[in-house]
């Protein structure tokens, strides 16, 4: 299933109205039609925003702003298109701008909290991880070491499962550029993880 049209395949063979029909109805003043669109894509938007931003309030703000922007630009929505890639593009750019405004820096082992160090040791040893907040905090620490651009492509392809073509569509670049960007991003994250683990005792 195309991840951009999740969760309920709006362009598929369901009885539910198609995205472009909902957009037309919204433009004619049907408030309920836009509500259907929001409900259809809120999970996707939260998933993307949640991959970029750690703070729950930031995620909600970004998600809301994405829908507001989409509504403001609804007249430019192409007839026959799916709302999914469009809203994905809007929220991705929005989160990217927010990340760019913050200046990240690569963290070392000593910068991690004891819980994050524990999570990193467990992960490196391949032991069953408790998951949850410590892993999420650890992920955030590692990802501050990669650029927002690298984080963007990692999130789309590694986390969201987009293909290179879909990522290219969201990022507004060619498929080849998306592939190159992903390759660099993977290497960058690997470098950050390696340096982080350099501060830890080698796993047994």
């Amino acid at each position: 299933m195309n991840p951009m049209t999740r969760p309920n395949g709006p362009q598929g063979e369901t009885d539910e109205p198609r995205d472009d029909a909902l957009v037309q109805r919204t433009l004619q003043g049907d408030q309920r039609a836009f509500e259907v669109l929001v409900r259809r894509y809120e999970r996707l938007v939260f998933r993307i925003a949640g991959g970029f931003l750690r703070d729950r309030r930031d995620v909600e703000d970004a998600a809301q702003e994405a829908f507001l922007r989409a509504f403001g630009a609804l007249s430019r929505f192409r007839s026959g298109a799916s709302f999914g890639p469009w809203i994905a593009q809007i929220v991705t750019r929005l989160c990217y701008d927010r990340l760019r405004a913050r200046r990240g820096r690569e963290v070392g082992w000593d910068d991690l909290s004891p819980a994050e160090q524990q999570a990193a040791s467990t992960a490196a040893a391949g032991a069953a991880s408790g998951g949850g907040a410590a892993n999420r905090d650890l992920a955030e620490r590692v990802l501050t070491g990669v650029s927002p651009k690298e984080r963007q492509i990692l999130l789309l392809q590694e986390v969201m499962g987009y293909t290179a073509a879909e990522s290219a569509q969201v990022l507004g670049c060619s498929e080849v550029a998306a592939r190159i960007r992903l390759h660099r991003a993977r290497r960058a994250m690997q470098r950050v993880a390696e340096r982080l683990l350099d501060g830890m005792d080698p796993p047994a």
């Binding site: 836009f34 809301q64 992960a123 040893a125 391949g126 032991a127 998951g131 999420r136 590692v142 993880a193």
Partner: protein, 151 residues
């Protein structure tokens, strides 16, 4: 060396497995090769980071209602920006008239001659030359040069 390469080729797959599911030959190699061991640890950490990023909390149940309410909210009572500017448009002809009047004044207006602070009577030619506010006449300049400080 060949074993290192073979291990590296499968690191991504093994990164998601518990250690006991990694084949014995590879586990034996990992126990002695520090470099491969570190690579596997890195791959595992990266995997955890990626997985953790995908674990975003779902939207709150009232999210859609909030978005729709924000978008379709009734405009607040009171005058809009357009209404506030409307009276200013009525002043535009008057403003235009003032601009035209100023242009005419600067284009055709006569600038008054500057006047001297000193009365010319009782002054020598030299003093008149220096203190006079208008451009001196040629004769006066010649008189000053030829006659010196004549009263």
């Amino acid at each position: 060396m060949t074993t290192c390469r073979a291990v590296r080729e499968q690191l991504a797959d093994w990164a998601v497995l518990p250690p006991e599911e990694i084949p014995d030959w590879a586990r034996n190699h990992l126990a002695t090769c520090r470099v491969c061991c570190r690579r596997l640890a890195t791959a595992r950490l990266v995997r955890v980071v990626v997985t953790a990023c995908g674990e975003a909390a779902p939207p709150p149940p009232e999210f859609a209602d909030r978005v729709v309410a924000t978008i379709f909210r009734e405009p607040a009572p009171g005058r809009t920006d357009a209404e506030l500017w409307r009276p200013a448009w009525g002043l535009m002809p008057a403003f235009g008239a003032v601009v035209v009047a100023l242009l005419i004044l600067f284009q055709f207006g006569v600038t008054p001659e500057p006047t001297s602070l000193f009365a010319p009577e009782g002054l020598s030619a030299g003093e008149r030359l220096v203190l006079g506010s208008s451009a001196p006449e040629t004769d006066l300049v010649l008189a000053v040069v030829l006659e010196g400080s004549e009263q």
